[in-house]
């Protein structure tokens, strides 16, 4: 796996942890909203952390497509030009 890919996943996982501190170990295929119970405020917190750490702006369409942690990482990679 190239290093850039690892960075995105690491940032997304850190952002999730900040938005949702008591979260346990999350599998890449876990559904963020239904299984982890993230509400829209927590989603916003997570997106902000990702944007700030990677210095990118994530468009709404990218959020609309993301169901799982892996989906979200892929969306972020595309935005960050690291796909």
């Amino acid at each position: 796996m190239p290093e850039a890919t690892d960075k995105v996943e690491r940032v997304v996982r850190e952002a999730l942890k900040i938005a949702c501190p008591d979260i346990g170990i999350v599998d890449g295929n876990t559904h963020l909203a239904s299984e982890l119970g993230l509400d829209s405020a927590q989603v916003m917190d997570m997106i902000m952390e990702i944007e700030d750490r990677l210095d990118i702006s994530i468009p709404v369409a990218a959020i609309a497509e993301a169901h799982t942690l892996n989906d979200l990482c892929n969306s972020v990679r595309r935005v960050a030009g690291e796909a």
């Binding site: 559904h31 963020l32 909203a33 239904s34 299984e35 119970g37 993230l38 509400d39 829209s40 405020a41 989603v43 916003m44 917190d45 997106i47 902000m48 944007e51 702006s57 468009p59 709404v60 369409a61 959020i63 609309a64 497509e65 993301a66 169901h67 989906d71």
Partner: protein, 582 residues
């Protein structure tokens, strides 16, 4: 230039006047940088030029506008005004994984209003195109696409006062959208009352707003109201606000803004995020009106905000509670400017037993219940509190709030039955809200209609129930939705579903699918309870009783358990008083 406080017969005449001055709209991005300046003079010029191209759609035709906080929305909205078309602002909010749900929702509204054209900014255009596929919409595009329409030499006759100013879809459910039809005369009547009697504006007033353009407070209060009073507004997108609530305060401090409105949850969100270090660099002493509306007001949320921002010079007396709804354009009443929250404490036991709001006596062995004053009705409003049988109630009796005013809508678009349910032949509007009068001042106590309001957003229980009924193992009328109050006074959505399945894995799988569907459509967490068949109570006519289900639910689980359960994925219960497993 003289300040003219919304004393115009129509919106185009209001913009014609505002365009003679220097004021207008400023747009800020999520980093707090000013990105676009749109003075009213330029807005008018661009709106009139585009209006000439739009008029081919035909006078009175509906134009769906995805209401993203963006200058292009403004140009389209006011172009519709000059072209005598009816703009229809649509929501611009998508939840995680919510592509399909959002497209479905947009499609319902574009179809319901029989839109002749549909507009979105580049962020939303692909979703809008998908939503409009196969519908008889003549043109779907961004501002650049509308700019390609053939030009006409002249604008049509401007809208008359009795023509529609806009359609607004705040009130409906996602399955059955209801577009409130507001005429030019109604919206101007409401704005004139708000800005002269609700709170009088001065030349020094400057607004800040992150409110969405598809919500009545953002659309009518700010997009229309600030223009009609020639005030400048600094805009921050709603999504940018939700991510970075501190920007609201930073920009207000920087620009010495004097007026900003928010539902209570916005104040709560900002208060949670603010640090003592932030407040050092803020100066909010110019903030004279901190409007509050759109949902039940929790005094403690506002108090937390005022305490956190006191070092920055924020004055609690700036809080201005208000009451209103899209069905009468925007506002019904405002509390007293400069007085802050005025609380009426009543005997809570007597209130639940007899619906009488008797003042609470200190030290009495009863529960105290506090309500926030929403002030006296604005001029031009008749407001009555009525019993279930329609009888007029005296002061300090809780009943249904009915009102009549030139601000009230013509009805819901193309929906005579839903219109007749809320609007009588002599034009009294049944608000569905519960409240009482004391000394001529209105207090809101709850809702008679089955509606959930979560983070300022209306969610109809029917929509949650229908998501459940879409699951193969759930039959029609097997689901019932309502809200209970959570630990911090927020509303928590609850969905009780009857299932025949006993296998815990199958049950968990169903709960997952329900969570997924609800989260995609509404972006909220919902407490799901699975119960055996025949648990849900029915009325004598066989209809499901949401109120009965709610009461049974509260009997089955004590408060602490509900608080805990808010963090669980779902509850399984035998329908009896004690839960068997979680």
């Amino acid at each position: 230039m003289d300040l003219r406080l919304a004393v115009f017969p129509t919106l185009t005449e209001a913009l014609d006047y505002a365009a003679q001055g220097q004021t207008g709209f400023n747009y800020y991005n999520g980093r707090g940088d000013l990105t676009t300046v749109l003075p009213y003079s330029e807005l008018r010029e661009r709106a009139r030029a585009l209006g000439r191209r739009l008029q081919g759609l035909g006078r009175g035709a509906r134009v769906a506008l995805v209401a993203h906080t963006h200058p292009d929305f403004m140009v389209m909205f006011y172009a519709c005004q000059y072209a005598a078309l009816v703009p229809v602002p649509l929501p611009a909010a998508i939840h995680l994984g919510g592509h399909e749900a959002y497209v479905r929702h947009l499609r319902q509204m574009v179809s319901d209003c029989k839109a002749a054209a549909a507009f979105a900014t580049s962020d939303f255009i692909d979703l809008l195109r998908e939503a409009a596929t196969g519908l008889p919409v003549q043109i779907t595009g961004t501002l650049a696409d509308f700019d390609q329409l053939p030009d006409h030499a002249q604008l049509p006759e401007p809208p008359r006062a009795d023509e529609l100013a806009y359609l607004q879809y705040t009130s409906g459910s996602t399955r059955f959208p209801r577009g409130t039809m507001i005429t030019q005369a109604s919206v101007m009547h409401n704005l004139e009352a708000i800005f002269n009697h609700g709170f009088r504006l001065t030349q020094e007033d400057r607004f800040f707003s992150w409110l969405p353009y598809y919500h009545d407070m953002g659309l009518v209060g700010i997009v229309l109201g600030c223009m009609a009073t020639q005030r400048s507004v600094d805009f921050l997108g709603s999504r940018e606000f939700a991510m970075r609530p501190r920007l609201w305060l930073k920009l207000m401090s920087q620009n010495r803004a004097t007026i900003s409105f928010s539902p209570p949850f916005g104040y709560a969100l900002a208060a949670r995020r603010i640090t003592p270090k932030d407040t050092e660099s803020l100066d909010l002493s110019a903030w004279r009106v901190a409007g509050v509306g759109a949902e039940m007001i929790h005094p403690e949320w506002l108090e937390a905000f005022a305490t956190a921002l006191k070092p920055a010079g924020f004055k609690p007396s700036a809080f201005l509670p208000s009451y209103g709804m899209a069905e009468c354009a925007l506002a019904v009443s405002f509390a007293t400017v400069g007085a802050g929250m005025q609380i009426d404490s009543v005997d809570g036991d007597l209130l639940s037993d007899t619906a009488e709001a008797k003042p609470y006596v200190e030290g009495a062995p009863t529960r105290r219940k506090d309500f926030v004053s929403c002030g006296p009705p604005l001029p031009g409003f008749e407001v009555e509190v009525r019993a279930e049988d329609g009888q007029l109630l005296p002061e300090r009796r809780v009943g249904r709030i009915h009102l009549r005013s030139p601000s009230v809508m013509n009805g819901y678009y193309n929906a005579p039955e839903p219109t007749a349910e809320v609007l009588s032949a002599d034009r009294w509007l049944n608000t569905g809200d519960l409240g009482y009068f004391a000394n001529g001042v209105l207090y809101l106590t709850g809702r008679a209609k089955d509606l959930l309001i979560i983070n300022g957003r209306n969610i109809w229980p029917q929509d949650l129930e229908s998501l459940a009924e879409l699951q193969p193992e759930v039959r029609p009328t097997d689901a019932s939705a309502f809200s209970v109050s959570g630990s911090d006074g927020t509303e928590v959505a609850v969905l009780v579903v009857q299932v025949r399945e006993n296998d815990p894995r199958e049950q968990a799988e169903l709960a997952d699918r329900l969570h997924e569907a609800i989260s995609q459509e509404f972006g909220i967490r919902c407490l799901i309870e699975l119960v055996p068949p025949h648990t849900l109570p029915r009325t004598s006519s066989g209809k499901l009783s949401r109120r009965g289900t709610r009461k049974d639910f509260l009997d089955r689980h004590d408060e602490e358990r509900i608080r805990e359960a808010a963090y669980l994925r779902f509850l399984v219960s035998d329908g009896g008083r004690r839960p068997v497993a979680a």
